[in-house]
């Protein structure tokens, strides 16, 4: 993988099938380096499946995802270096039953980096949890746990950060902290962000471009302003107006 250039994704005819049922079928989608791309759509439309493919956690059933000079295809895995340049913050933060610090440094230790005190502190500072470094992770509230999960992802400085409904069920304060940290990560570090959400307001606040997925298919991809102000597809217009039942 060429690490000098931040890689982009090219998704070509990618499908994913579970038990004979196709849940995703994307003909073409490019994700540009340094952008914030929001993937919106109702629950069960295939958004999270797409994120798992983008994180190389499971291979597509058909087609290919090109990224960093490699191709992710059925029966063809990608290199560890490439996989390590992407990470996900899931909707439900799954933390290790250890201290906050141990959780945040986990990804660094996987990469053999043990001298990481300042990196961990900086990452926790960005999510407003520097004072909780020594606390057991299981004592955190839902919002704090999600912020630790975000710090854990940010500390490894990924090229691409995938966010799967990162603020679902969180209170407004935690939503603000997380959105601000994500925005700064994008502007200061140039990290590509792919945000899955069914919250159109959040997509509007954060995204440069927006994709609407329905039943595993892309309905519309456009820059945020066009998507919200001048949607081309009537289904996008209905989704933006909140008329789509989901």
């Amino acid at each position: 993988m060429n690490l000098d250039v931040r890689p982009s994704y090219a998704i070509e005819n990618v499908s994913k099938t579970y038990g004979g049922r196709q849940v995703l079928g994307v003909e073409r989608l490019d994700i540009h380096p340094g952008e914030i791309l929001a993937i919106v759509g109702p629950s069960g439309s295939g958004k999270s499946t797409l994120l798992r493919l983008l994180n190389f956690l499971e291979p597509p059933s058909g087609g290919r995802i090109r990224y960093g000079g490699e191709s992710f295809e059925p029966n063809r895995d990608v290199s560890l270096d490439l996989r390590r340049s992407v990470t996900t913050v899931a909707q439900r933060p799954v933390l290790l039953n250890r201290s906050v610090r141990a959780n945040v440094e986990f990804g660094l230790r996987l990469r053999g980096r043990r001298d990481n005190v300042s990196d961990v502190r900086r990452a926790l500072d960005k999510v407003g949890l520097a004072a909780m470094e020594g606390q057991p992770a299981r004592t955190l509230s839902g919002g704090e746990a999600q912020r630790v999960a975000l710090a854990r992802a940010m500390v490894i400085k990924p090229f691409v950060l995938l966010l799967d409904e990162p603020t679902a069920n969180l209170d407004p304060y935690n939503v603000t902290v997380i959105e601000e940290a994500v925005r700064r990560l994008n502007t200061e570090e140039g990290t590509t962000i792919v945000l899955v959400t069914h919250n159109v307001f959040q997509a509007r606040r954060l995204a440069h471009r927006v994709v609407l997925i329905l039943d595993g298919k892309i309905v519309e991809v456009s820059d945020a302003e066009s998507f919200f102000e001048h949607p081309k597809d009537p289904r996008t217009a209905a989704f933006v107006r909140g008329e789509m039942v989901y």
Binding site: T87, V94, L96, S99, F106, G107, L110
Partner: protein, 230 residues
């Protein structure tokens, strides 16, 4: 009873020999069964492959297998006419040696270690594996992370394995032969002394066995306590 405690505190070289041999045989057997049982438990807990259910069924059967029957199998294996007894290799122990006792106890303990490890691994949040992989873990690092997350249960598996062999008498009696100065351990010595009517000595040996089990379990609990308090 008083005589029993006098015997312990006075001590004797043969008593120390018996205690040391018990610890050595059960310690090595526990180490071997842990080295095999923990990875096997992790594979059965995390993997999905053909034959897994059959392997789990065999393992559960092993967990309840009577030690004396395992002793009989090992006896038949190692006896002169048995399949291993006919092979002239230095790594295959002879019958009536501590090595044969180690083999029998390892076979008794490893299904316990593997079974409890598997249960502990299955109890870990399934989302953790995917999260750990997403953070860049290799397959090996993912397995290790899950095992560490299940560490309280893994320690229980080692405790169960140790409990299953330190107090076991049937298998070591069969394959060890209870030979004085060579293969006599605490449990077989208790049987012998009881049969000979030396109840004081049998009681003293029983107290030592209880004390060893207690101390080892306290050590394990301390280890578990650290994990519980994290």
């Amino acid at each position: 009873m008083l005589d029993a405690f006098n015997l312990i505190f006075e001590g004797s070289s043969s008593l120390y020999e018996i205690v040391l041999l018990s610890l050595r045989v059960s310690g090595i057997a526990l180490l071997l069964s842990t080295l095999v049982g923990i990875p096997l438990g992790a594979v059965l807990g995390l993997g999905r492959f053909p034959g897994r259910q059959l392997m789990v069924a065999f393992m559960y059967t092993g967990m309840g297998f009577p030690p004396v029957v395992i002793g009989l199998f090992v006896y038949l294996l190692l006896s002169r006419s048995g399949p291993l007894g006919q092979i002239d290799a230095s790594w295959i122990p002879d019958l009536f040696t501590p090595g044969a006792m180690v083999i029998a106890q390892s076979i008794i303990a490893f299904p316990l270690v593997a079974g409890f490890t598997m249960a502990a691994v299955l109890g870990v949040d399934p989302g953790l594996r995917q999260q750990v992989r997403s953070l860049g873990a290799t397959d090996w690092q993912t397995t290790l992370a899950v095992l560490l997350e299940a560490r309280i249960g893994v320690i229980v598996s080692i405790i169960a394995g140790f409990g299953g062999i330190i107090s076991e008498v049937g298998a070591v009696m069969l394959v060890g032969g209870n030979i004085e100065g060579r293969t006599r351990v605490l449990t077989t010595a208790i049987v012998l002394e009881t049969r000979q009517g030396n109840f004081d000595l049998a009681l003293a040996l029983g107290a030592i066995l209880l004390a060893i089990t207690f101390v080892i379990n306290v050590l394990m609990l301390r280890l578990q306590g650290k994990a519980l308090n994290e």
